[in-house]
Every structure is written in structure tokens, then in C-alpha cells.
Subunit: 314 residues, 4 copies
Amino acid sequence: MCTAIGLKTHDFYFGRTLDNEFSFGEEITVTPRNFPFRFRFTGEMKSHYAIIGMAYNKDGFPLYFDAINEKGLCIAGLNFVGNAYYKNCTHEALNIAQFEFIPYILGRCATVSEAEIELKKINITNTPFSAELPVAQLHWLIADKENCITLEVTKKGTNIYDNPVGVLTNNPTFPEQIGRLNDYMHLSNKPPNNTFAPSLELEVYSKGMGGMGLPGDLSSQSRFVRAAFTRCNSVCENHEISSVSQFFKVLGTVEQTRGVNKTEDGYEITIYTSCCNAQKGIYYYKTYDGFSIKSVDMNKENLDGCELIKYPVK
Amino acid sequence: MCTAIGLKTHDFYFGRTLDNEFSFGEEITVTPRNFPFRFRFTGEMKSHYAIIGMAYNKDGFPLYFDAINEKGLCIAGLNFVGNAYYKNCTHEALNIAQFEFIPYILGRCATVSEAEIELKKINITNTPFSAELPVAQLHWLIADKENCITLEVTKKGTNIYDNPVGVLTNNPTFPEQIGRLNDYMHLSNKPPNNTFAPSLELEVYSKGMGGMGLPGDLSSQSRFVRAAFTRCNSVCENHEISSVSQFFKVLGTVEQTRGVNKTEDGYEITIYTSCCNAQKGIYYYKTYDGFSIKSVDMNKENLDGCELIKYPVK
Amino acid sequence: MCTAIGLKTHDFYFGRTLDNEFSFGEEITVTPRNFPFRFRFTGEMKSHYAIIGMAYNKDGFPLYFDAINEKGLCIAGLNFVGNAYYKNCTHEALNIAQFEFIPYILGRCATVSEAEIELKKINITNTPFSAELPVAQLHWLIADKENCITLEVTKKGTNIYDNPVGVLTNNPTFPEQIGRLNDYMHLSNKPPNNTFAPSLELEVYSKGMGGMGLPGDLSSQSRFVRAAFTRCNSVCENHEISSVSQFFKVLGTVEQTRGVNKTEDGYEITIYTSCCNAQKGIYYYKTYDGFSIKSVDMNKENLDGCELIKYPVK
Amino acid sequence: MCTAIGLKTHDFYFGRTLDNEFSFGEEITVTPRNFPFRFRFTGEMKSHYAIIGMAYNKDGFPLYFDAINEKGLCIAGLNFVGNAYYKNCTHEALNIAQFEFIPYILGRCATVSEAEIELKKINITNTPFSAELPVAQLHWLIADKENCITLEVTKKGTNIYDNPVGVLTNNPTFPEQIGRLNDYMHLSNKPPNNTFAPSLELEVYSKGMGGMGLPGDLSSQSRFVRAAFTRCNSVCENHEISSVSQFFKVLGTVEQTRGVNKTEDGYEITIYTSCCNAQKGIYYYKTYDGFSIKSVDMNKENLDGCELIKYPVK
């Protein structure tokens, strides 16, 4: 399971946690403008916007988990198992295999508005990358510094939702997730007043009691509420260090600690957390056992090249 | 387990639920002024205030669960298993067997203030009524129209607590129970405001959302919080029908429905609910499967008699 | 706001709470078989199944809040404000004004299966009963002894949902309400085990702790969860008194106490609670300040008459 | 407010968060064996165990917030405002000013057992360090690799509690805090089973749902429960990097993000988080805006010196 957020301070930041039992061997991967994307149904995209993100690189193709492009458009794909439903390719639409979605959109769209126009044309297909790599069931958070949307493709069709809270986790569907925030509207970052029974002398015995009722577990619904509350109340200074630090703090509230989330295969942990400065093209990240935040700056690479540039996750 | 409350409208009302797997064969029992109470350590109390309440009558002695006297003093005993601790009889104090406590106090005290003076003198002993009736582990809610206190006797000694909320359930100790209300101080009978994230458009989709976070289960701690919230926000008209009805509504929020609380011996249910008009001496009650509220008015009895007057619970 | 449930013991029972700030002047109303229903679009229904239920009778028409027919089919309409959306009358469908829905279906359908066939034909229209009576925004719980469904008409169209839990309240939509039960799947009527940290000695200090986490407030979402938990764990004996008593207990857990739910106009309270023995045609009810459960047995009336038979609510 | 924990993996680790609106100018401070501690009432302690910890150094005296000694005994002081109550100095006891407590105990005790013997002799006094530094109201977590206790001094006297969970936050008192865990005993790191209503088909729609009900806010009570659940379920590998990383993860679940906890003076944030390897004498820490974990190893210093060795927090 995973959590993605967008956060605007002086710049726009976008990132996510990737929660799983094990690493996929992912790499920070820069796709320069002239790397040829060979799409299954729409042919080759010879030149495009440069992209940086976290990808599992397979057979020369960057299978991006989350990425931004040089224009500041950002996408993260998050598990949506049981709800995601992709159709076969069809004659009526522009067919994009599920695994091609991030490069296709980031390659040609500079903004969320441009992406929305594309989204109306395309059919995300259930085409597997290969026999060993079945189709992931995902939904997507798509954002730039101005707008944020969620894309969900289910049996009921394709839905594009405005995402005013800038948060996405996993199940249930986005309307249910955001609808749940209504139940927490009384939470506050300020100390509570006694409205329980004004005649009783009740005591604010601790700071932070205004948040009482906020869920603390690791389910996707609870992570959504907690990340939303933290992100919406987040305060930081208008410089890079404070913004990046703060971004990691917000995602830190939904980080998965080894042992707390037992699955059949072991324990789900936050394999990595990322934070992109979408305007400057810098990809910050940290790993579960890493003692520090690392970064890769796409603008220090040759973005006019035609080969993928890969940095192993340390 | 059980819940007791006091509630002041135009008159003062006091009552409780008695929750158990089965009935004890209890009867509404009026003890007239000249019924001789033979106490184990303090001898015979030949005349005293008249008392009405629910009792299991054994060998001519009314083992009261809850009762009021003709002066409007009210006591209910509630389970306090694991915390209650009564000592042996001692030479330094006035020894009152645990099962004698309600008649002893109601027999001689007209008010909470008078009861408090007695409480400082007495040692509640661990004397069983008989071999078949071991000592119940109880704590007590004691109230009149002006004051309300809780009495707890534990290994740490005897504690008399002011009880500003007028509610008692079972474990844990009263200070912990009432301290817990701090965690719910933000609840309200009014619709919530959006303090979660004022920039988000959140929706009050239902009436009653101001109470979100109120616990709904049947544990003693949750019943305490729920009864406190309901009682403190209760509104009724200043006449008998509205007051009695309202009192049963408040206790209705902590009533135990058969099946929801499974124990080793079956299901705990609310065997009966009582509501005394402490000023008029009327004992209202209803039973689990009863379709109506019944009542017994002590002032319609000969209170100068010397025999117990018993009404079976219908 | 309101809560409706169906409950099967030896017979099938169906009923609801009606929560509001004030009574509408409703009456237990028996519509005999030959009372002529004059529908706005479909003309006169001269004979039909006999019906008993709670109605506000206006200009000779029974505006039923909840009712059953002589075949044991049951319907209750519950507030669904902000979500309900009825269209104008249309040429393509059988037009039934919203206020005609209960008599139309109960008049001609003996079972849920028959009702489902009708539901696919009809268009519930936004036709007001009169200038003073605007269209209520409702959704419906429809049940017989075998099946239970929910009908919702929103901007997205008409949806008929299987309702395996036999509960309906108000907002949000039924799929969201029932989906929420997943979050409470760990609740139990049994005492909890220590799975928090087996190495710690934790204590079951009270009976009923298996339900910890159950919401206790009066919002429609919390009433849904609480009624579902209580209804699904309900246990009673297979006779009328136990069944009826138990039914009122289940709805008692969502009863609204005056003062706890403050609205602009005063306080929302449970004006009445009903329980129909759907197989015997008996309508039981109690009012907020009523001290007892009353009943009307439709089979003691002349069901072949042509005049409404009305009993004032006491 | 703050949170402290002890955690045993292959070594024993101890540390805390320090939450406040601003930094105190604290420094990692090594007190070598021959630094003379001049205590107010008990005179000079010329030689003692070496100590490392975080301290505000004032007038040549290390006012430790948390520290360990070379024998592996660890102490952290945490806010306990409103409950802590220290007496004047007295003739009957060994008087130790509140601010001397950590150096006094760490200077002379090698284990919790030895500390407990000292604790019974001493009177922690309300002596301020200076006119500008009033007496902090604290309670203490004291641990070694075998044992963990909590020390609280209130109006009711001095209490030493076994602390089987190895967690301390702030108010309320420790018995209340740990008692609260009973209410969460049903939480689990495993997926939940449907015990709500086995007849309903409920869905585990997300990993991590076994923790549903865990509180997510920043109050001291909720941080206690959350840290306890995380610590008790924590799993890591038996080497230094994994242990240290894991320790910071556990405390990360109670870290305070700027903006979420508004106080009169600004926002409470986690100024620093520490983690000591108590057996190796290494003090790891990170600051709110720090991008990495830093460390100071006491065994790389000259521990036989007589001057404080201070490292500024980076």
C-alpha cells in the first residue's frame, strides 16, 4: 500500500511512500528527451519531455512508480487492488497499456489541464508488460503546482476527480476516501474547548488534544485521513530545506514500521519515501533503513540524450 | 455490569440499570420505619427512615441493589470487581457488613452531607450474608437533590469522591472514569464546524455529527462516557411524565441488548431499569421484556409499619 | 433522521424510528382493500392489498412513513436529503409520484421479488403532494421475510441494492454505509483477546469490551453501524413478546434523546418507534414520552372496507 | 511534550523525542568520570560513572534532558505538568534538586536495581537551578537492558512503577496511561477477522486494518498508546543499522509535525529525536529539519577527564 501527496510551499512538491514487503530493485531514473518510448499500440514517441522518477527498469523500459517531468507535471501510481479494472484494447480509443501510462502522459503533457485532455482520449489497457509481470491494479494522483486530480478506472468506467486535498492512498475509491473526511471535520490543530458538558470542569491535560479521534493505524482509509490532516495543517518556511524536511514529516505520519503490518509474506514496510521539487526537477528520497535523505537533480544531467540515466537506490 | 445516574429536573430523580445474565428474584421492597434491622456488629436499628428500592429479600433481610429513603437520599451499589476490597471487622471503627451498607445509611441519614459524616466512621466489612451469598464487590453512587458522591473502598483505603457528573458504572476506579471525559471534551450536541482543514469543503451530511467519537459499546468505561454525555445534554419539561420518560431515555443509551454482550454464562442484558422520584418517593421501573413502565409509590404504603412490603417485579 | 430495520425471529419483524423535532400528526392507518387510491399519473387503483402503517393523512390520502401489507411486504421511507433526486414525469416510464410510492408498491406486490419487477418499470417523480407539502427526499428499505433491498434514486439514476444487513439510516448512500462496516469487522460480542502485545499483561476489566470502537453518536453513519452490530448479534426467544421486545431494544440503541442532537429548530428526538409483525399484520409502536408499547392489529379490522381506518398515536 | 522508549534488539537502545516550540540550545554532552558535580545539598561528587546525553549547559552544569552512563543505565525526564510535585528539602532524606536527579543517579548507579535503592532514600526537591530557570515538572523513564521503571513524584508521594511496555509520555499518571492499553487489546498487526457479524460478507480492503482504532493524534495519551503498539510489534534485524533505524521509526510514529499542534506560542514540533545504544555508549540523534542521523560515541572521548565535552546539535 502507499500514500502520495502534493504540497505547495514556495515551490510545488510531490512524492509518495512505497509500501511493500520487499524492494523491486527500483532505481532513480532520468529519461532524457530523446529516449525513444516504444508504446505497444501507439508506436514510438521519439522525443518528449524529460522525466525523472523512481522506476523498475525492465528490458530497457522504465516502469515508473512515480515521476515528474521537466515542466513540473507529476504522477504517482498507487495500488487499487480489487477496484481497478482495465479493458482490452479497442478501436474507438487511443490504447495505452497500463504500464505505459506515466511515460505517455509525462512525455507529452506540461500541465494537469493538458493531461485531462489526453485522459479523455485514451483507453488504459490490461496489457501485461510481459508474462512475468502481470498488470498492476493502480489508480493515479496527477498534479502540477496549480491543480491536482485523481484518475480511477473501474468496472464503472473512467473517472477523473478533482482532488482538493492533494492526497491519495489505496482502497476504497477516491469519493469514499474524501467523503470520510466529513467525519473528522471537528478535529483541529488547536486545543479543544469543552462542548461536552460546559457545567463540568474538564481539563486540557496535554497539547495536541484537538486532534483526538484522528486514526493512527496503517489501513489505506486511515492513512488518507491522517495524511490529509497533517498536510492541510502543515506549516513550513519558504525555503528548500524546510519544505523538503516538512514534506518528509507529512509522509512520516503514514510511514509503515516493520512489524506493525503483518502480511502473509512478512511485513509491509515503507521501502522508500520520495519528494520531488516539481519546479526544480530534484528527486529527494530516503529508504527504510537509510540514515539520510539523498537526491538526484535532473537538471544536472544531459536531458537531450537518448539513453536512460539510472541511479541505484542507496 | 450496571449504570447509575442522578438527574435533576423539577424534582430529583435517581436510578440505575442492573445488567446481568439472569434475574436474582428481586422485588420492589418498602422497608417501613419500624422494621427492625438487625445488623451484625452494631445491633438492632429499631426505627429509622422508611426506604423503597429494589432488593433481593433473603431470610427476612432486604438486600437492596438501589434504594431511596423518605428524605430523598439515594444509594445504588454497582459492581466493582477486582477493585473493591473490604477488610475484616476491626475494633477502631463502626463495622458495617457490606450487605448492610444501604439500609444502614438510608436508615439514619437524610442527606449526602449526613452520609459523609457516617462514612468517615464506618468500616465496611467483608462479612458474607451467608455461606451461599459471598460478598459482592461494589462501589456506590450516593446522591440527594443537592449533592452527589461516589464511595470506593479498595486496597488503598476508603475514598469519597465528589461526583459532578452524576454517573457511575463499574471499573476502572472513579477518578479514571471521570478523567476519561477530558478526551471527549470536544464532542457537542451541535453540528460540527470544519476545523480539520478550513480550505476544504467538508459537509455536515447528517444531524448529530457533533457527537462523533462518542463510544457506543457496552464496556463500563464507554457506558460511563455515553451516559455522561447524554445526561449532561438532556433536556426535558418540568413535569413528572417528561422527567421520568427522559430519565429512562438517558439510561436507554446504555441498555444491554441480548446477544451483544456474550459472557461465559450466556448474555448480559439489562434485567431492569429503575427511576426514583427521590422527592416524591415513587419507584418506577421496567424490565427487559416489559412493554411498559410500572411504579410503586412508597407514600401510599403504611410507612409506620414493621413488616417489609414487597412487590414482585412484573 | 431515522433508522429502519428488518429482523427475523419466528416471524418477520420490520420497523423504524422516526426522528424529528416535532410530530407531524401521524396516525396508525389501515387502508382496506377497497379504498380507492387515486394516483396522479396512473389513475385509480380500486382494489389492492390491505395496508397498515404510520401515515400523515392529508386530504383523504395516507402519506405513509412506513407500512406493511397483508402479504407481509414492508416499506419504510427514510430521509436522504442532498442525495435523493427525482425526475419529472416522462413518457417512457410508469410515473409514480414520490408520495405515492409506498401505497403503489404495497397495493400490488406481495413480495420483494414482485416489487423489484415493478421498480424497474417506474419513474418516481418529483411531484409535490400539494403546494404546502414539498417533495420529501427519501430512500427506501423494502423487505419481506425472505429478502431485503434498498432503493435509491439519485442524479446517477435508480439503484436497487441487496441489503444483507437489514438496516437503513440516511446519508451517505447505501454502498458507502455498508462499506463502512468493513472498518468494524474486528468488533465482537465476546471479550477481546490481547493481540495488541501478547507480552504485556492486559486486562479485560469489564464485560462488553469486545465492542470497543463501536460508534455511539447519533449521525446517520454511526447509527447504521450500531444498529447493524446490534441487529446482527441480537438473540431472542421464538415468541411474540420476546421478539417484539427485542426489536424495540435494537432500535433503542439508535434512539435520539432530547438534548443530545441540537438543530436550528430545537432538538431532534425519536418521535415514534415502530415494529410490525409482518406475518401477523400487527403494528406495535411507542412514542417518545410514552410509558408503554401499544399495538393495532390489522386483522381485527374489516379489511374489505373502502374507508381509511385511523388510530391516533397516544 | 515528549515520548521516551527503551527497545531491546541485540543491544539495548533508549531514546526520546523532545517536543517543544523552540530549541533550548541543547548540546550532546559527555561528562567524564572526574568532572566534579557540585550538588546543592549533598556536596561534591568528585568521580562517578561517565555520562553522555543531551543537555542544556548552564553555568558549567549539564542540565540533562536524557542521558545514559557507561554502565548502560538510562534516564529521560519528560514533562508531567500539573501532576509533578516536589517538596522542600527535608532533614529526613537525601535531598537532590530536581535538576540534579539525572547526574546524581547516573553518576552512582550501574543498574535499575541500584537506582531503585537510591530512589528510596532521596527527596527530589523543588529547588530551582537559578532565578531564570524555574523547576521543571517532570517524571522519569529509567531503564537498563534488563529492567524499566517509571518514577513519579506527586502530591500523593513518590511512586516507582514497573514499566513493562518501555514507553513514557506525559500526563496523565503512568498507571492511567498503561491502564488505557486495555482498551486497545484487540488491535493487532494481523488482518482482522470478521467477528462483527459472521453472516455478512465483510472485506479486508487494505493491509493494516488490524490496527484500526489506534489513536493518531499528538496528545500524550494517544502517543503513549501508539508508541506502545509500535514498539511492542517492532521487528528488526540484529545489527546496529537495522536497530537504530527501527528505533527512529518507532519514535517517528509520535513525531510532531509543524502546524498540527498549535499552541499559544506557535507550533510544537519534535526538536530532536535521540537513540542511545546503551551498551556501546553511542548517542544517535536527528533534528527536526535535519536530513540525516548523526552520532557521538562516548568511548571515543577521554572518559577520565574532568571537563565537559560538548557537541553542538547540527
